[in-house]
Amino acid sequence: MHIKWNALAQTAGFSFGITVAVVAVFALGILALSRREASLSAAREGSGAPAAGGAKLALAGAYVCFAACAATVGYGLMLIAGK
């Protein structure tokens, strides 16, 4: 009997790595969004331009994170559909 330990180990390793990476990046995106809220309310309370700039930066960061997650999902689907 030939057991493909390699294929199994690869599957397990990839699954673990991808899951942890995607969830971490997604969590970073959420953190960025929550920072943005904080900056926005700081700006409203009058700490001015730097806070508003921080809000924009945070929003951009969140977009990058979510786009990375979406790209991973898209790539995964492409691999499956390509069969």
């Binding site: 673990f16 969830v23 069969k83």
Partner: protein, 390 residues
């Protein structure tokens, strides 16, 4: 020939019936945590799951060719009677575990059924035991651990990263993420499980010479398999949704997102590698990992134990029932009729018993565990209009 084509029609209908039970048995995989955390309303969750299961059926036919050409040796003389017996055992086991609210593997029920019926009908040489071990048993044992570990790690990280953020915003963010992660599971489930029915139907058509050996599933097979699993999914296996969403652990949105992401990744990666694993076990494993990785780090071990016992029992139990059914079905038309009658009356009986304690979209998030009591217990008041539990 007429007798054979009638039998083939019966087998195809039974296969689609199995696909239907597969659908409602496994709705929980994608929907349970999304419903439990409130990311999606129950009805919305099952609708999305149904649509994506259907879509998933069209993504790939890789596993379909693995099942029909892998586990059972088609050339050894597998015929429609055997496949019918295999499906009967698989359906009965699926319904029994659903009745008890246990998320067992529909795939293993099917494999077990096929193995049992083939051993009785053809003999030991009809089953490729090497393939059974390498492509089913080893992935089945490994996959819940892989998903659990990944979900555990992802949950820990998710909590660590968002610790300094605003709690309400974090919950909301992960709930939104859950909509996508649970959708991905549904898609992956459609790809994986609808293919198994396609494989069975294709195997039947090959066995009567309607298709050449090693043929790909025809389009009508893909469409009907996708439709059957989608319909089953839409019916919603509420009993199992409750066990998985509320029974194993108290799941918060970050845990739900982590477990769903882990499950989706494991399923998609394995189906890319051609392993036909159990979506149910992967999703349950993911939820267990996320439960342990969460802030409380708790898991209801008694339910975990019951689930694991059921998983171990699924393959042999379905094999036993299907073996018995094959013994009858081989006797000729009366045997087939008898198996058919047993299948229908057994399914009907289990449905009737389930009515004693219905679980539906309205009460799916109650924590009362599903226990089928011998007496009628009315601890969950259910209005007559919502008796859609399936």
């Amino acid at each position: 020939m007429e007798h054979i084509s009638f039998l083939v029609a019966v087998v195809i209908i039974t296969a689609l019936a199995f696909d239907f039970t597969n659908g409602f048995h496994d709705t929980a995989n994608a929907a349970a945590t999304a419903i439990a955390t409130g990311a999606l309303r129950p009805k919305v969750a099952v609708t999305i799951a149904a649509v994506l299961n259907f879509a998933g059926a069209f993504l790939s036919v890789k596993v379909a060719t693995t099942i029909s050409g892998g586990i059972v040796n088609e050339k050894a003389g597998v015929h429609p009677e055997i496949i019918f017996a295999a499906l009967a055992g698989a359906i009965l086991w699926n319904l029994l575990t659903w009745l008890r609210g246990l998320p067992s593997s529909s795939s293993h029920a099917l494999y077990g059924g096929l193995i049992g019926a083939t051993i009785v009908g053809v003999g030991m040489n009809g089953v490729n035991f090497d393939t059974v071990v390498t492509k089913i048993i080893i992935p089945a044992v490994a996959s819940p651990f892989v998903a659990g570990l990944a979900a555990w790690g992802a949950t820990k990280l998710a909590y660590a990263i968002t610790r300094k953020g605003d709690d309400a915003a974090t919950e909301k963010g992960f709930k939104t993420g859950q909509i996508f992660s649970s959708s991905l599971i549904s898609l992956a489930h459609g790809t994986n499980d609808a293919q198994k029915t396609m494989g069975i139907i294709t195997l039947t058509l090959v066995s009567v010479g309607a298709l050449p050996h090693g043929a790909l599933p025809p389009t009508w097979v893909i469409v009907s398999a996708g439709a059957a699993i989608a319909l089953g999914t839409y019916m919603g296996g509420w009993r199992i949704i409750r066990s998985m969403g509320k029974g194993l652990a108290d799941i918060r949105p970050p845990q739900g997102f982590a477990s769903e992401s882990a499950a989706a990744t494991v399923i998609l990666t394995s189906s890319h590698m051609g392993f036909g694993l159990s979506t149910t076990q992967v999703c349950s494993g993911g939820i267990m990992g996320a439960g342990l990785g969460g802030p409380k780090g708790e898991l209801r071990w008694s339910l975990v134990r019951r689930m694991v016992y059921t998983w171990g029992l699924t393959l042999p139990a379905a094999a036993l029932v299907s073996g018995g059914a094959a013994l009858l079905a081989e006797q000729g038309t009366w045997g087939i009729v008898l198996v058919g009658v047993a299948l229908v009356s057994g399914s009907g009986a289990m449905w009737l018993i389930s009515r004693r304690q219905p679980v539906g979209a309205d009460n799916v998030n109650d924590v009362t565990p599903v226990e089928v009591a011998p007496t009628v217990t009315a601890n969950v008041p259910t209005p007559a209009s919502t008796t859609v539990a399936a």
